[in-house]
Symmetry: C2
Subunit: 415 residues, 2 copies
Amino acid sequence: MKSSQLFTRTRKQAPADETAKNAQLLIRAGFVHKEMAGVYTFLPLGKRVLENVIQIIREEMNAIGGNEISLTALQQKDVWEASGRWSDDVMDVWFRTTLANGTELGLAPTHEEPLTALMKNFIDSYKDLPSYPYQFQIKFRNELRSKSGLMRGREFTMKDLYSFSKDRAEHEAFYEKCAAAYKVIFDRLGIGDITYRTFASGGSFSKFSDEFQTVSPVGEDTIFIHEGKGIALNQEVYTDEVMKDLGIDKNDLVEKTAVEVGNIFTLGTKFSDALDLNYAAEDGTKQPVFMGSYGIGPSRLVGLLAEHFADDRGLVWPENIAPFKVYLAPLGDSVEVTTEAEKLYEQLTKKGIEVLYDDRNVRPGEKFADADLMGIPYRIVISEKTLASSVYEYKGRTDTDAQMLSHTELIAKFV
Amino acid sequence: MKSSQLFTRTRKQAPADETAKNAQLLIRAGFVHKEMAGVYTFLPLGKRVLENVIQIIREEMNAIGGNEISLTALQQKDVWEASGRWSDDVMDVWFRTTLANGTELGLAPTHEEPLTALMKNFIDSYKDLPSYPYQFQIKFRNELRSKSGLMRGREFTMKDLYSFSKDRAEHEAFYEKCAAAYKVIFDRLGIGDITYRTFASGGSFSKFSDEFQTVSPVGEDTIFIHEGKGIALNQEVYTDEVMKDLGIDKNDLVEKTAVEVGNIFTLGTKFSDALDLNYAAEDGTKQPVFMGSYGIGPSRLVGLLAEHFADDRGLVWPENIAPFKVYLAPLGDSVEVTTEAEKLYEQLTKKGIEVLYDDRNVRPGEKFADADLMGIPYRIVISEKTLASSVYEYKGRTDTDAQMLSHTELIAKFV
């Protein structure tokens, strides 16, 4: 894309009311716009990053048998009354609205109930199990406070997969498969080394659930890490009893603040009992479907990645989630420089390399500062000086020095 | 994908309360699920069709300089009060909700106001113009009645592009460019021959707007077509005065019912005046930005396409929007048949051809009926009989007879 086509631009200062570093950086670089606290519009660069994160998650969910769907935001209350979660005392983050005819509706904070009801159309017998529908969908949560930028949204994108299994054994096999897929996802996102599978409370569903917590100074959670075992405990289950259960010595644990980037729950038969989702087993008996749920927040991840992959000049995206791979900056407006830049832009684009071509007539310093703030992994400079030596100036976002490369050497960097 | 991985299944009957043919077919084939009137979940097959439609629109919007973004559903009322559209008397389809602190919010029925306010961060000078942000986003409209299946939704996906131009001349050039892009989109969707650019009322914005109306017996609109000129008039502007303006003879017009699949509006400075979106012109004067809006409803299109591309056996998707290109049906469960089916499935998949491989142990008639109901363009059958002759049975969805093809002939059909 050419910069002249991109309608956003960078800014020196974030809005004064934005206190979270992730949102400050993303707003300054033109990736997102704050609509209100916890509600962010994704601008072209941010949208590209979000889609890259989503695509990584999608590939791994498909690889374990996931079936992508798209549930609705508007929710009828009967299914939530059946499970007992319509009440504000039980679920305190409801946004509600009303149909023109006066019927009260909810805006989905999560989707267990409507999906369980839906699956009654597709599950009768053991032959229909297991199944693994998932979606990327907007969730609405009426949080009283929302000051962590993209990390605690009132409206945000969520990947939620739900498993429908015959029994606990079939459930547990998939549960571990999904936990392994989550590990692959966080590795691919570049945060595998600071993300821990974390024992947490199972809430009303089961004894434990598993969270995936990424160590971050701005995290809202406190976790206790056991480096040797590569796991952690959420503060809420940091008790002598649990540590004894898990065979963990308190002295081996290190306390850190962390951000919850994913969670997986054993739901058991709570929702299938409430909504009457049963199947005929091989022996002819009627059995409740055994369920699990598996969440990851892609928009929260964009916030976390922005917070984590940054330096004093701005964002530093890993290649596979960057909005563009290359920032192409011609300097000056001579015909020769422009012609060469256009030619290279076309060559790289044809090879499938995503290039942001800064065709604006601005000072070199402004182009370099923008490339750094936006966090584009590689910068290529073309100037009268480089043309005179038949080279291109090439620099990685975190490199100290630029290299002068021939055309062949330059292209070789990207194939 | 293997059928055993797909959690949906076909059904003989649509729900009794579903009267629209498009929704009946899509529900029977397992493409969508009705959450409530006008609110549909997209199941795996429907989601694939929707994404194919979206991708076609996306490519054409990018080709005319569109910048994809993602605005939010939750809306603060100040921007809508500024334009005078917060009132139910002006906009009668609002869904409203309330923040935990008591602040009233709206659920976006459209996005002119928040986007105009957002663009104030990015437009100062004539150098920042024109720009063309667009999105695929959920819209919420609190329709009193919603009985047309996917064709009139209370929650639906909309592509909305907004143009920000220096003046009417720059606006009109883009307006025509977008109208041309819409023609390409409807051609690519296979409905170009029955879709007419239609003069319609400009509402409070301008004298005329342009609708794109697709002739359909279930349309909610009445249009008058001039085949010679390839245009139409919406009933609301079917007056002697307009016909005289356009140099059209009433006797050349043919009345038809039609579905509005797209619309484009000249908004002028209505919103930029209301929300103070101005720019410094080359001569230094302050000027209001000249705006336009350009909508297409992808989920409505899925409904229309289902209604249009169907016969007595079910859906008949054009290749480029079908959920899968090939329905691979092995008959019987002999090792030889299964081995050959698995092999062909892998060969085609590796070539990037999307195959739905019916690995279920059900009767041939059930497989054939499902392939037809789902509307998959090509069906390949492998049986002990075809194996004995070293051929594959190949049949297009609308072909009368199947052909027996060698492996080479079969592969040649898909490259």
